[in-house]
Amino acid sequence: MCLAVPGRIEAIVEDQGLRMARMDFGGIQKQVCLAYLPEAEVGQYAIVHVGFAISLIDEASAAETLRQFRELGLLEEELGATEVEEAGNEVPRRVP
């Protein structure tokens, strides 16, 4: 239902009494309404849907999730379980 994309808050301004942000989405800049994120600050990342920032991205949580994804499967490898190594797989491997 809801296409929402992450962007970085570049500047915060006031427009017609609304808290607005200029946000960067991977090289694309767009004005976004910040009214629902009164605590948001420049430099933070937020999820934006139809021109509204609706949630800040918890960067520590994102990093932790990614770390878990990357480590998934490594345990079995250590235990000698078979895992087909894909070409281009750059996951760090520990020496058994």
Binding site: C2, P6, Y45, G51, F69, R70, G73
Partner: protein, 368 residues
């Protein structure tokens, strides 16, 4: 893009898929509620990485698909008026009402415009003081705050030439309706991450407990979806039925308080008809009494417009996961992407349209 591309990495995706294969010992049916998740699953081919015993049921979480025919007919009636500039998200322009769609109204001289944000519609109302600017306010809880802000702003600015045709829908009552249906076969849900970013997760534990189903709050990128599926399968295999948050970087338990506050001010909960499904109690938002002046249905007196869905269309059973699209008698005959009877055939990620395209390819392969 940061926070998107990392979650599309193929190596961890394969490992997550392998983990799902390892976990799944029995057949399970999991529903991804949200149309955006369906899109991502089909777009990336995530379904093909999963065990054959696992079926993903595409849920009713596409606001475009579930907007009832009569609301679309009301939109068409308003958009055709000479004094009206009708604004909408792009998705809605091709959705058929009883007889035509917004593109047809535009071709007949209606002033129909695509906007990216509801605030763009408010801006248009300021720029065109001699026109009646109407915004087609559809969407789930994710979109509702944006639409609420547009009306709120219009009222604050005393704009008398702005109004909204509101047809919002809510996720938890739809999940409840699916689970309460005697023909339900959904055993676990991937809840829509972006809806939860607004509403939080607190609405779901009672549902999980009452119906004994795992509910996993899930994001939209391939790794997020695979992780959501992995956790759902793990719970199913273990006989658990909990609410888990697999999208913690975006979703908190409480959700977005300022957004919830404005929703409560601008809207009130109402019964809502879902296209293809029927009326679900307390499953929608309409403008509250304080904002009635901005209700396009009243302003243009179209509340009396009613319509009936094609009796040939079985979209409701498809959306509930009871019927596969190609089991519908009208599929590929009366109903094709060019002549859609129901909205599931309209949007390219609608379940029926997806089946139609895949089916054609399979037929071509078999004919070889």
């Amino acid at each position: 893009m940061k926070y998107l591309d990392e979650f599309r990495d193929s190596a961890p995706a394969r490992r997550l898929a392998e983990e799902i294969h390892r976990l799944a010992t029995r057949p399970w049916a999991i529903m991804e509620v949200c149309g955006g998740q369906t899109h991502s699953i089909l777009r990336n081919g995530i379904d093909q990485l999963l065990p054959a015993s696992l079926s993903l049921i595409h849920g009713p979480g596409c606001p475009v698909c579930v907007t009832p025919v009569e609301v679309i007919d009301r939109a068409l009636a308003i958009a055709g008026r000479p004094e009206v500039t009708f604004t909408s998200f792009g998705d809605m322009l091709r959705v058929p009402g009883s007889e035509k769609d917004l593109f047809r109204v535009k071709s007949e001289g209606g002033d129909v415009r695509i906007v990216y944000s509801p605030l763009d519609a408010v801006k248009l109302a300021q720029e065109l003081p001699d026109r009646q600017v109407v915004f087609f306010g559809i969407g789930f809880e994710t979109t509702a705050p944006a639409n609420a802000m547009a009306v709120h702003l219009a009222r604050r600015q005393g704009l008398t030439n702005f109004s909204m045709l509101a047809s919002h829908v809510l996720v938890p009552p739809a999940i409840e309706a699916i689970l309460a249906s005697p023909s339900n076969r959904v055993q676990a849900f991937l809840a829509a991450g972006h809806v939860c970013s607004v509403m939080g997760t607190w609405q779901y534990p009672p549902l999980a407990a009452k119906h004994r189903v795992p509910i996993v709050i899930t994001g939209f990128e391939p790794l997020d979806l695979l992780e959501g599926i992995r956790r759902a399968v793990a719970q199913l295999e273990a006989g658990e039925a909990r609410v888990e948050n697999a999208y913690a970087r975006v979703v908190s338990e409480a959700g977005n308080h300022p957004a919830q506050a404005l929703l409560a001010e601008v809207f009130e909960v109402c019964d809502r008809t879902w296209r293809g499904i029927g009326t679900i109690p307390a499953s929608g938002f309409r403008l509250s009494a304080a904002y009635r002046d901005f209700d396009a249905e009243l302003r243009f007196d179209v509340a009396g417009v009613t319509a009936h869905e094609s009796p040939l269309c079985h979209a409701g059973e498809v959306l509930r996961g009871v019927l596969k699209p190609n089991q519908c008698p009208a599929f590929g005959r009366e109903c094709t992407p060019r002549t859609p009877l129901g909205a599931t055939m309209v949007s390219s990620e609608g379940a029926c349209a997806a089946y139609y395209h895949y089916g054609r390819a399979l037929a071509a392969e078999e004919a070889r």
